[in-house]
């Protein structure tokens, strides 16, 4: 009988789910602002704009609070893990998954880096849109293109993420790590052989 090993701390899980919740609220309200068919169906644009703006502020505020109040040392270790690529990681990318991986595989590392970058860019372009409505100095013709483009790029990442976390038989066990915090030891040894769980 294989035993569960801890993959994600409570702080990490809180960060993940706060990010997910914020993303979906922002996606929903943003699509109402963006897609003509939804804009017509829902109406009440000023209200939806306020919801979208304040959800965005709430989103980054909660993320910052989780980092400040949570296990920062653990987060720093995880960030270090995600940052560093060794030769096996590069091989894993070149050979489409055929190289031993640590706690995170190279795809997860890239996903994490892109997600963090998109968060910064969503926030920057969103603030520019909000400020630009109030002051010409913050108005750029391409802000809306960046904000929309980020939405498309995030949806592509999210689709892959959800497929691997919920559907793909070999990987969906990982969802347990993000809900209960633990994964099966044998599964970990198979998918992340270089990871030494504490």
């Amino acid at each position: 009988m294989s035993r569960p090993v801890r993959r994600f701390s409570r702080t990490e899980r809180a960060l993940h789910w706060a990010n997910a919740l914020g993303f979906f609220v922002l996606l929903g309200s943003g699509l109402v602002l963006y897609l003509p068919s939804l804009a017509i169906l829902v109406g009440r644009r000023p209200l939806v704009k306020d919801i979208h703006f304040w959800s965005g502020i709430g989103w980054v505020t909660v993320l910052a609070l989780v980092v400040m109040l949570g296990d920062r040392r653990g987060l720093r270790r995880t960030a270090e893990d995600l940052d560093l690529f060794d030769a096996d990681d590069v091989r894993w990318l070149k050979r489409r998954g055929d190289a031993p991986q640590g706690r995170f595989n190279a795809g997860q590392k890239i996903n994490a880096a892109l997600t963090a970058a998109f968060t910064v860019l969503f926030l920057a372009s969103g603030l520019l849109l909000w400020l630009g409505e109030r002051d010409t100095r913050f108005r750029f013709a391409s802000t809306v293109v960046l904000h929309d483009g980020l939405m498309y790029a995030s949806l592509i990442l999210l689709t892959g993420h959800l497929y691997l976390a919920l559907i793909h038989p070999a990987t969906r066990h990982a969802l347990r790590g993000m809900t209960l915090g633990t994964v099966d030891e044998e599964w970990a040894a198979h998918h992340h052989p270089k990871w030494k769980p504490e």
Partner: protein, 229 residues
């Protein structure tokens, strides 16, 4: 022979920083690149009508979108004119018709090319109303309260300024201002008042809805609102 896996590189932060840098610089190159991508995939756009690549965004300022009632709706032409008018929708449609294809620019950066408008010239409406000598501007009042905007008479007499009741061969859809909207392609969309119900001649232009919130009164495309300066 594989090299040993001990050496590590900080590619994670590399990907992060490159993406942030690329995204921020796109504030300079984003729109032109998107324009080219969008015209390249133009045919595919029709297959996914949900996705407005080079398409419209629907902007409103109030809680609900005005609804056009053909029986009740009137266009009133009043203020400083010799002969005020109160036109039904059918009377409006029986005025001399004009068609044009022009590009629509929103101040927030999106553009819709080659929109086919059908309607009446503002210059024709003015000529039949007969502006008083002291009239210098037109107030356009929307059914969407409190949306209002103004053009000077000179601006309103530009040859492609019109009141449009058709768009791309169909009656103007509700979200585009049914039954009637102002079209002035030289200026950003916020001057192109939707859901028109009143055209009033006044002495001087005042600040319209967005101008009261800091946008330029003369909204020339490419040379107002912080662009092109």
């Amino acid at each position: 022979m594989d090299e040993p896996a001990r050496e590590t590189h900080r590619y994670g932060r590399g990907v992060f920083l490159a993406t942030v840098a690329g995204g921020l610089t796109s504030l300079v190159w984003g729109k032109s690149v998107w324009g080219r991508v969008s015209s390249a995939i133009g045919p595919a756009e029709a297959l996914v009508p949900l996705v407005p690549t080079e398409g419209w965004r629907i902007y409103t300022v109030s809680g609900s979108m005005p609804r056009f009632d053909p029986q009740a709706w009137r266009l009133t032409v009043g203020g400083l004119v010799a002969s005020p008018a109160n036109l039904t929708y059918d009377e409006l449609r029986s005025l001399p018709r004009t068609d044009q294809i022009s590009t629509f620019h929103c101040v927030t950066g999106w553009t819709v090319k080659n929109v086919h408008w059908g309607g009446v010239r503002v210059a024709d409406v003015l000529a039949s109303a007969g502006p008083a000598p002291n009239a210098g501007a037109i107030q356009f009042v929307s059914m969407e309260q409190p949306y209002v905007d103004y053009l000077t008479l000179d601006q309103a007499r530009l040859t492609d300024v019109m009141l449009a009741y058709e768009m791309d061969g169909k009656p103007l859809p509700r979200e585009h201002g049914a039954p009637l909207r102002l079209v002035i392609p030289e200026m950003y969309g916020y001057k192109n008042v939707k859901w028109l119900q009143q055209v009033n001649l006044v002495e001087t232009p005042e600040d319209g809805y967005w101008e009261q919130l800091g946008y330029d009164v003369d909204a020339w495309v490419g040379r107002s609102n912080g662009y092109g300066s």
